[in-house]
Amino acid sequence: MNVLKKLVNVLDKVQKPSRYIGGEYNSVRKKDSKINLCLVFPDLYDVGMSHFGMSILYDVVNSSSFASCERAYLPWLDMQEEMKKEGIPLYSLESYRPLDKFDVIGFTLQYEMSYPNVLRALKLANIPIHRNERDDTYPIVIAGGPCTVNPAPMEEFIDAFFVGDGEEGIIEMLKIINEGGNKRHKLEKLSTIQGVYVPGISEKASKRFVSRMPNAPTAQIVPYTNTIHDRGVVEILRGCTHGCRFCQAGMIYRPVRERSYQEIVDLSRKIVKFTGYEEISLLSLSSADHSQIKELMSHLKEIKNVSFSIPSTRVDALSVELANAVSGVRKSGITLAPEAGSQRLMDVINKGITEEQIFEALKHAKNSGWSRIKLYFMLGLPTESDEDVMAIGEMLQKVKKMGFKNVSATLGVFVPKPHTPFQFASQIEPEEAYRRYKLISWAHKYAKINFTDPRKALIEGVLSRGDSSIGKVIEKAEKKNLVFPDWNETFNPDEWMKIFEEENVNLKRISASKDVKDVFPWDKIDVGVLKGYLWLEYQKALKGTLTQDCRNGCTGCGVCQRFGVKNVLAGRKAPDPLKVSVEKVSGEGI
């Protein structure tokens, strides 16, 4: 199959053909490897190239002596059509090889809404979507990324899930697959690796941890296409310990591991040199937390001809200060996420900030010259009352009155996520979401309010907290062409609701609140934080009691004690994890 030859016939007919041409600067075409992996981001190139996780693994595997790694993304609908017409299978962007010619296909599952896209990618590659239909002649299909903390909805399709930091695990997996044997034999061996969950073989699996920040890629692939984040990336810290109770990343990426500022500066210089990027993003869940952030900012100034960006949305003075530092004189828009409107509800979610501090930060932003401000809120957080909703409107009114020219707010419906304290909470139904939204319609005169379709949250909730029966829904969604559900132009909620009905999905049950004694589909994955701890946190939430950031003192979530890791701060020593017995931290005898 000569894909390249056939491509010439289609690339003139599609939008933005540069997404499909491959051969980007710094992409690696490694020949004669013993084992070949193709990583697939199940979304459009423009999105996939903006996620950093895949470029870490790309670098790790291509630096190994025995394995190669290539990439593929899901082509947009116009390209899918043309490929079908010409008989072009999904191919890799390095060697233009059809995906079924690889030994291993690795999907990255970054968000649940990409699940139908995974199936579409397999179909475009002429690979059967069900794992039990794939014999030894097909590639082994693995998946990683945050969604693997609940593998149930995708477990009919994926041979092996990898949960956690993948830098070491991916090499171990490839080694085992390279050793040969039949598929069953390989999968059995894979299931012995920490971090790997093999449906049908593993009963349980624990997350994989790297104890320090690993090496980072510097010769990063430079896309031709204007991708969403078209810039170099330095991951400055991993994990976040603020302990916001809705936040999955904050729970599943514990503990915090920081990179020293010297290393960050050094990486930045190398990235500029190897890529020619004019902008570098300092990646983390919460950049302002870095214990050497001041030193870092002052040293980054020495690197010429490049600007830095910091994706931080916490609402405190330091975050505003950082936004000031990287924006120079041109202060266009600042994005902050209070998440809730009232102090009471902020305490419920353990935001760890007071309204007073928020307004101080806002005042600081105003005085520093920001005129456009974007605020993020969630609707339907546990215990939310109508007053709490009204408080969002009141906050917007106050912000507008502070003199910001342009205030906008994005309102999303809260989706409870597995392995968070709010995994026990209920999710509000779309009708109720609309009712609450209407409570603040008066605030439209102070801010442009974007309300995300609550049915999107409903679908996301089903895909996140669903069990293995949800696989049928995903399959049907792909069949009905409901791919790219995260894109406004292709999102078709009515069709999704129909599928839920046809497949008898018990929406009420999935969305309902849960008890600590309930068995969850994701209980078989141990991400480190104990279920009992999450339950205690949930109880504290209901009372509005705060839990401190564990960089100031361990709160006993169980990760460090059970997996021999700890918070690694670059600028100071973090307090030691509490010595608590597992029974004690687990509460309620879990």
Binding site: E278, E279, S307
Partner: protein, 171 residues
Amino acid sequence: MNQIKYLFHYKKYGMLRYLSHLETMKMIDRALRRTGIELKQTEGFHQRTKISFAQALPTGIIDLAGLFVVTTFEEIDVSRLKEANKLCPRGCEFVKAEKVDEKFKLSRFVDGYEFKLIFLKEPEDASFDIEKKGEIWIARIFRSFNSSIPKNGEYGQFLTIRSQAITGGAN
């Protein structure tokens, strides 16, 4: 520091013909940045090299006659250019860089372009200047600067190549 204005001649072929004009500009900017040659930047917050390109090409056309002008703070000799070419993705090549006058303007320098249209069967439009070469037919057409460019497939051609810049040397 002394500023020197350079006129770059470049080619863009292979898969890179599928880059849009904006993507081409970005690709070239980043290739130049990788050389470490000190280049004059645009004003404003976002870092961008000050590059002026000659006439933009629609996506899909092979370019053997690309031109742009940059200002540097150092000499670019043949060996420097060679190094720069090593830092380009496959399908992009800097052919030469020549020093030009401070007042040099591409719009005055370029009169127009010659395009070659490649046909896989004999074209119907008889007004072309056509040459048959083995299995293909090659038509040559001239378009003056900033006039419309033959789009891919417009005349039923299989490929479009911008083959040459016709320069009057008004500078």
